[in-house]
């Protein structure tokens, strides 16, 4: 029985990571009806921020290094939140009301982000800066008649292309100067993030079951964060606005709520949560460019299962997925119930690998949706779409 219990604990911690990652996605989806396929890459950014913070703190050693992780949590939230806001303001906003197109565009962003962390180097940063500056300057100092010409938008496109080409030339020339410029900062390899000492090892035991520090920490972290999100959404001014817009965008707009800012802030918070999730994942697994992809599908499942824009649903769904995966995937049912009938046994054995437990979870979700097409806790309303 203690096997089942420790599996439950593992399941909870898998669920906690999922929860951290899915909450951000769920809030954004609930508010804007937008699925952000780059969400996984925001997690990756969070993890890379953790890596950078760790490397800044490493030479300090001692207590300063032990506490780097707390700083990294905050930094990864802030950096990814800024990324999120920028993405919302530059791209998502333009696709408002076209959720499927947003899906495709964010997938494009995710590809760019993956390759960006792989190949970013000093030369590349210089090149991008040159492009941005040149592009801005060209627009700025364009003679007025040209600015007002009917073909102005095409002209601007051409100017930006020119700026881009100049940027490319800058990159290749600076990269040829030397390794200092051309060496990628991170490269395609996985990065080594070491949890501080106090997180490694076990934190005591209950009734003979060891409590791995990292897993307990992640469970506590996600509980605290969810509490913070709940507090924010229910008590703060912006939280109330977010909920108002989620429920009825047009009416909120009429009542003077700045829906644009609400969108930006929500997207920022959602992305920030992804960053924190990425920071938490560094404790468990590898930090590499492909980090996001392995979590994103599970996050979607959580949202589908939990219902749109419902935090309770998200919590229950992610815990359920975590536990199912850990109990069935480990085959601990076989050990816990050694005398199950043979026919059942062969079925359970078939699914008792990590790959097949995924299959089972997905089948379960699709079956579940047959009975509850809008998730566990559907939004109540009188929309014809419901």
């Amino acid at each position: 029985m203690d096997l089942i219990f420790s599996q439950l604990l593992d399941g909870l911690s898998i669920g906690a990571v999922l929860l951290l990652a899915a909450t951000g996605l769920a809030i954004v989806f609930g508010l804007m009806g937008v699925i952000n396929l780059a969400h996984g890459e925001f997690m990756m950014i969070g993890a890379y921020v953790t890596f950078v913070v760790q490397n800044i703190f490493r030479p300090l050693g001692g207590f300063a290094f032990e506490s780097y992780y707390i700083i990294a949590l905050i930094a990864s939230f802030l950096v990814t939140a800024i990324f999120g806001v920028v993405l919302e303001k530059t791209l998502i906003r333009r696709l408002y009301g076209r959720p499927l197109e947003t899906l495709l565009a964010t997938w494009g962003i995710s590809l760019i982000l993956i390759q960006f962390v792989r190949s970013v180097s000093l030369a590349m940063v210089i090149g991008i800066a040159v492009t941005a500056l040149l592009g801005w300057a060209l627009q700025k100092f364009l003679p007025l008649p040209l600015k007002q010409a009917s073909f102005a938008s095409y002209l601007k496109g051409v100017l930006w292309t020119v700026a881009g080409i100049v940027g490319l030339i800058v990159i290749s020339t600076t990269a040829s100067i030397g390794r200092f410029f051309s060496n990628p900062w991170f490269g395609p390899r996985n990065l080594d993030v070491t949890p501080p000492k106090w997180l490694q090892g076990t934190w005591g035991s209950i009734a003979g079951i060891e409590l791995p520090g990292i897993r307990i920490f992640i469970i506590i972290l996600s509980a605290l964060l969810i509490a913070a999100v709940v507090w924010f959404l229910t008590k703060s001014v912006w939280g109330v606005r977010i909920r108002a817009v989620t429920q009825n965008r047009e009416m909120s707009n009429c009542l003077g709520i700045p829906t644009d800012s609400v969108d930006s802030i929500t997207f920022g918070i959602g992305s920030g949560l992804a960053g924190v999730a990425g920071c938490a994942i560094t404790l468990l697994g590898s930090v590499g460019p492909n980090l996001g992809g392995s979590y994103i599908v599970s996050c979607f499942m959580v949202i589908v299962l939990g219902g749109v824009g419902n935090l309770l649903g998200t919590i229950i769904a992610s815990m359920m997925l975590g536990i199912i995966q850990s109990i069935i995937g480990s085959g601990s049912l076989l050990i816990a119930f050694p005398d199950m009938p043979n026919s059942l046994r062969s079925v359970v054995e078939f699914f008792a690998t990590t790959s097949m437990s995924y299959v089972l979870v997905f089948i379960f979700i699709i079956a579940f949706l047959q009975f509850k097409p809008t998730g566990m806790f559907p939004q109540k309303g009188r929309s014809v779409e419901a």
Partner: protein
């Protein structure tokens, strides 16, 4: 002029059918058998793109799971070829396909049995994906799941199949996939140049049929209903239509097209593997359609060939750049060119560009914003 326009695609097709293989043979303009083979693959991908266009461009359902049907078609033909070919490269000591030896499998798994027969296999290429598409589609559409939900669920289904095929080494060789290069078909080795030219021609012969099928489906009442589902499904429902059968049918057709596409692609690339069911592959299919022009039937074909050709060129020259280019293409097409290349030409994007440079006459729509000087002024003050 109109006649000429209608003839252009057929001329291009005939050119591809007769001239390209000859060029490849004589290595004219640096064109080789390898390039010909690549073009064969691109054209076979056009089938799946047509299917995506039917469900997404016309019906407004973004499926991120077409890879399932694509791979199933590929697996069907690969299983047949592996079974019927008897040579040292493909057949193991026990008479079964060689890879079974690695896992100590002596009895053919039951679902391989039907694939001994050529007609059954050919039918299976599009029937199996269609049936599965019908089943999945029915379960999904019955519950009025649509929009982003539909996309996510198709993606989840994709992952179910991916993990299943990836994990089942004893049944379908897991990650490694099935290889067809050394198998024999019509008395030719599938990897040989003769067979590849044959596959290329078969692809080109089938493509017009797929096109005509889609044309038939999208014109007339059926096509109108699809567009109605896309544009305002509740209204369609309120006027007494049940959209579910329409959606299921179109999903089934798209699945069947994907299956044919997968089979043609597999024999030309020489391998079918669970990689065809990766998330990215299925999303890429959508972007081919978006680039070519959704809601048109020529667009997906143009898109599939063009994007994949671009991919080959970029990844040969600058392997690391492809992701940047691809990502930028997604964003660019979605935001700036929602009608795609073909749509840009046919739906007024091109003429309005000419108009902007004063080459063509301006066309104005109500309320004639483009002509109103005061509106133009204001937009610059913002």
């Amino acid at each position: 002029m109109k006649l000429f326009k209608r003839l252009v695609p057929w001329i291009l097709l005939a050119f591809a059918f007769f001239i390209l293989p000859a060029m490849a043979n004589s290595e004219l303009f640096g064109f080789s058998q390898f390039r010909l083979n690549l073009f064969g693959r691109y054209f076979s991908l056009a089938f799946v793109a047509l299917g995506v266009d039917l469900i997404w461009g016309y019906t407004g359902l973004l499926s991120l799971g077409q890879g399932i049907f694509f791979s199933l078609g590929g697996y069907a033909i690969a299983m047949h070829l592996l079974l019927v070919t008897k040579n040292d490269f493909t057949t193991g000591a026990n008479g079964l396909p060689k890879f079974f030896e690695n896992y100590g499998v002596d009895n053919l798994p039951f679902f391989w049995e039907p694939f001994w027969s050529f007609p059954v296999s050919i039918i299976a290429v599009f029937i199996v994906p269609s049936v599965i598409a019908g089943f999945v589609g029915y379960l999904i559409f019955r519950n009025r799941i649509k929009g982003v939900y539909f996309s996510i669920i198709t993606q989840a289904s994709l992952m179910v199949f991916y993990h299943f095929f990836n994990g089942q080494q004893k049944l379908v060789n897991g990650t490694n996939g099935l290889k067809t290069s050394t198998t024999e078909i019509f008395g030719l080795v599938a990897g040989s140049d003769e067979a590849q030219v044959l596959f290329f021609r078969i692809t080109l012969i089938l493509l017009p049929f797929a096109y005509l099928l889609c044309k038939y489906l999208t014109s007339g009442r059926f096509g109108d209903s699809l567009v109605a589902i896309r544009d305002d499904e509740p209204r369609l429902r309120f006027s007494g239509f049940n959209p579910t059968p329409f959606k299921v049918i179109v999903f089934v057709v798209a699945g069947g097209l994907a299956g044919i596409s997968g089979a043609l692609y597999t024999v030309q690339s020489g391998i079918v593997s669970p990689q065809f069911m990766s998330i990215s592959m299925s999303i890429e299919m959508v972007i081919w359609v978006a680039v070519g022009g959704r809601g048109t039937l020529v667009g997906p074909i143009i898109g599939a060939v063009l994007v994949n050709y671009l991919r080959s060129l970029v990844s040969e020259a600058l392997p690391e750049a492809w992701l940047f280019v691809q990502g930028a293409l997604f964003v660019f097409v979605v935001v700036l060119m929602p009608d795609g290349i073909y749509g840009w030409f046919t739906k007024g994007g091109f003429t309005s560009m000419l108009a902007a440079f004063g080459i063509a006459k301006k066309t104005a729509t109500y309320p004639k914003l483009d002509f109103d000087e005061s509106v133009q002024e204001e937009s610059f003050k913002v």
